[in-house]
């Protein structure tokens, strides 16, 4: 007698239910396989898998030899444009020739020790900051001091105040890696506090404060970065009192700070929302006021859990610094592109792009790997 569930009345409600038991399947045998058999199964186990493997090998065979030929075997490492063209491969001597130009741009040659020092200082600060044992309030003061020194060294003046013993160098002579680093680092450093303020404002109880912050964030996130750069280039000068001129690089820098701050604010808001309500209530119940509550209880947790997202936002911002090309500011990429016009070295655009791509890739990949590692170590206490 079969189960009564297949009668028409109940079938509508229960849908189809199999009446008989299926026969048992054999146990999996891959535990007993040798290494070579397991590899064979991984790559050629089923016809589809074998086709995928062969397809991948074909793609690699089609891509790699010409690529390696161009980048390594037929490449020219020393010599001039003529030897490059004769060899037919990549012309890395062009990159050698332009390397220091791509670092310093048009900065006066005899003063290059100053940006050199800036780079060294920056590298040192980064080397210290990536180590968690140096994380403390002092590190923030150290960065503020370092940024001031970097600015002073580069320009020979800070906000119009001359630095004794250094000749002023106008920002139109700045270029190369230095400008990229300045845009990214100053952008991040100032976007961080502004982003926190905007995020707190967006979650404020006060309607007008919330309105201002929401409008600000949504406007900046809603338009492409190019429009902010255009506004900084063409409209901000109109907003200035007559006779007051703001440096072009500084205007672009401000656009970047605003841009990064809006995105950072959204990251921080996510962190603020993720903190359990009990933390807010606990802070209230022990009688902390708003600023104590935020400073001592909420923000330390919210900032910590959003570190990976902060790094991702920073990576995005770092890549976006290339957009200043459109308003004619000589960052690393623009400087490199300008060297494509050198009459002695015409026709090596691909090499320049590959070099620039490699530099950006190394920086961004290192940052994303670092943020992934940080995510693990910061969650150590939460792991069970």
């Amino acid at each position: 007698m079969n189960a009564p569930i297949s009668t028409p009345t109940t079938a509508r409600a229960l849908s189809f239910v199999r009446g008989e038991t299926l026969s048992q399947m054999p146990p999996p045998d891959d535990v007993r396989l040798s290494v070579s058999r397991r590899v064979a199964r991984t790559y050629f186990g089923t016809p589809a898998n074998a086709a995928i493997t062969i397809g991948c090998i074909l793609v690699l065979a089609w891509l790699l030899p010409p690529l390696l030929n161009w980048a390594l075997f037929k490449a020219t490492w020393t010599g001039n444009a003529t030897t490059c063209r004769e060899a037919g491969g990549a012309c890395w001597s062009f990159i050698r020739e332009k390397f220091w130009f791509s670092v310093f741009g048009l900065y006066p040659f005899e003063l290059r020790w100053r940006p050199g020092l800036v780079l060294a200082l920056f590298a040192g600060m980064v080397a210290i900051s990536v180590q968690q044992r140096f994380w403390s309030g002092k590190l923030i003061y150290a960065w503020i001091a370092a940024l001031a020194v970097m600015w002073g060294l580069m320009g020979g003046q800070v906000l119009g105040i001359p630095v004794p013993g250094l000749d002023p160098v106008p920002t139109r002579l700045w270029g190369g890696w230095l400008v990229t680093i300045f845009l990214a680092v100053f952008g991040a450093a100032l976007a961080y506090p502004i982003g926190i303020v905007l995020a707190l404002g967006r979650r404020s109880q006060r309607p007008f404060v919330r309105l201002v912050c929401v409008c600000w964030i949504e406007f900046i996130r809603g338009v492409p970065l190019i429009s902010l750069l255009f506004i900084a280039t063409f409209i901000v000068p109109l907003f200035m009192p007559t006779g007051v001129e703001l440096d072009r690089l500084i205007r672009a820098q401000i656009a970047f700070i605003m841009f990064a701050a809006a995105y950072m604010a959204e990251v921080f808001r996510g962190g603020l929302q993720a903190i359990p309500k009990g933390q807010y209530e606990g802070a209230d119940s022990i009688g902390l006021n708003y600023s104590q509550k935020m400073r001592l209880i909420v923000l330390p947790q919210a900032l910590k859990i959003t570190i990976p997202a902060q790094v991702n936002t920073f990576i995005g911002m770092f890549k976006d610094t290339t957009l200043v090309l459109i308003i004619g500011i000589f960052d690393f990429f623009t400087t490199l592109r300008s060297s494509l016009g050198d009459a002695n070295w015409l026709g090596f655009a691909t090499e320049a792009y590959v070099y620039a791509a490699a530099v950006y890739f190394v920086c961004c990949y290192a940052m994303s790997q670092y943020s992934q590692r940080l995510e693990i170590t910061l969650n150590e206490g939460q792991r069970r």
Partner: protein, 406 residues
């Protein structure tokens, strides 16, 4: 003890006979409500004064430079040609029409880009999860390289590659009627004629028929457990009906195939080098992000769901379609939408390689007329509108699909 009681609590029974203490008067700066109002007033005054000063400065600066704010320039002849336009445009047409051409070109790149990005991104995301390590590694290498280099650089690279292709006479021929040269890409295209209407209706009928068939099959599966495949019916309906409609009219559709004539191609449709470079760059870049979103979405589905579906005996296709994807989509769609939005906003990088999109045309307009404020205002508000509409839609969608928590 009583003294302490009275200061602590006035409502204890033995204290009830005494009068209630006067409500303590808090100072103005300690009253949170009043303090809030004062703070907000101060903020309002600050914001207004900044806007007022900026506006005043702007008026002074503009009149000092002989600039007038106004939209009259939109009606003046543009005097520049646009390489590609979806509506007819000549140099005698006005700036307003040029702006429309730019908007349409932005929409064109966004729509085509979003469609291609979706396909490529989903494919890459699934390939990234392949059990074949070779494929998974290859795809993840691609994703890492593309995600960690600036888009602008990639656009220049694609533009340089397309420009370094041979000319039309030696064009790369990579499929029937498809040519790639330094003039862009040529592909076959259906030539439009009113005789195509019956075919379109037949296609629509085929799609509706397939949906009905799938409903009927689902009902039958529910009642009997038999699961006949849908695809032969759907293919037959979607391809067969338009074919029959076409055959009934004696095949009126003509395919325009590019042919080399002299120094260039004629026939087919052309994708300009700028469009091709921008499209390639945007699609390859955004697809890498979409792939990561798709992978994250699929991995976010709890492992028990996979095991339960397998133990029910679902095939891998059914497992994906019926169990995993409906749950993964909930996670995938919000960040996916923001990637679509990013693609649209990033299409403004067209200005760097010369594709005539909204920003490029606005840029030309303001260089010629000096109307920087107006031109920037126009394109910024168009992007802003698109963004706000999309996020409004997203909020609505999120509210709809959110898991109902009890």
């Amino acid at each position: 003890m009583p003294i302490a009681m009275s200061t602590l609590d006035a409502s204890t029974p033995d204290a009830s006979s005494r009068p209630l203490p006067e409500p303590t008067r808090t100072a103005l700066w300690n009253d949170p409500v009043k303090r809030g109002i004062v703070l907000q007033l101060l903020l309002a005054a600050f914001v207004l004064s900044v806007i007022w000063t900026a506006y005043g400065n702007m008026r002074a600066n503009m009149s000092a430079r002989g600039l007038v704010f106004g939209w009259d320039y939109l009606a003046r002849p543009a005097n520049f040609a646009i390489g590609e336009a979806l509506i007819p445009f000549s140099a005698q047409d006005n700036y307003g029409r040029a702006l429309v051409v730019g908007i349409l070109n932005t929409i064109k790149i966004a729509v085509v880009g979003i469609m291609l990005t979706t396909f490529l991104g989903i494919a890459l995301g699934v390939m990234r999860l392949s059990s074949n390590p070779l494929l998974a590694r290859l795809v993840s290498g691609y994703i890492e390289v593309v995600r960690n280099t600036p888009l602008l650089l990639q656009l220049f690279l694609w533009y340089a590659i397309i420009n370094s292709l041979p000319g039309p006479r030696q064009a790369v021929h990579f499929g029937p009627g498809m040519y790639l040269s330094n003039r862009g890409m040529k592909v076959p295209w259906l030539e439009w004629s009113p005789a195509l209407w019956p075919m379109i209706w037949a296609l629509v009928a085929g799609i509706i028929g397939s949906i009905i068939a799938s409903r009927m099959l689902a009902r039958r599966r529910g009642a009997t457990g038999e699961a006949p495949p849908l695809w032969p019916i759907a293919t037959g309906l979607i391809l067969g009906l338009p074919f029959l409609a076409s055959a009934a009219q004696g095949f009126p559709a003509t395919l325009s195939i590019p042919v080399l004539q002299g120094f260039n191609f004629s026939g087919g449709i052309e994708l300009s080098p700028e469009f091709a470079a921008l499209l390639t760059g945007l699609v390859l870049y955004t697809a890498a992000f979409v792939a990561e979103i798709v992978r994250g979405g699929i991995q976010s589905v709890y492992k028990g769901q996979w095991e339960a579906a397998r133990s029910l005996g679902l095939s891998s296709g059914q497992l994906m379609r019926l169990v995993i994807l409906p749950q993964a989509l909930r996670v995938i769609i919000p960040p996916l939408t923001s990637q679509y939005l990013n693609l649209t906003k990033n299409s403004s990088l067209a200005v760097a390689i010369g594709y005539p999109d909204l920003v490029h045309i606005s840029n030309t307009t303001m260089n010629q007329t000096g109307r920087a404020v107006e031109a920037i205002l126009v394109f910024a508000s168009i992007y802003l509108t698109i963004s706000l509409l999309t996020s409004a839609f997203m909020n609505w969608y999120n509210a709809r699909v959110a898991i109902m928590e009890r």
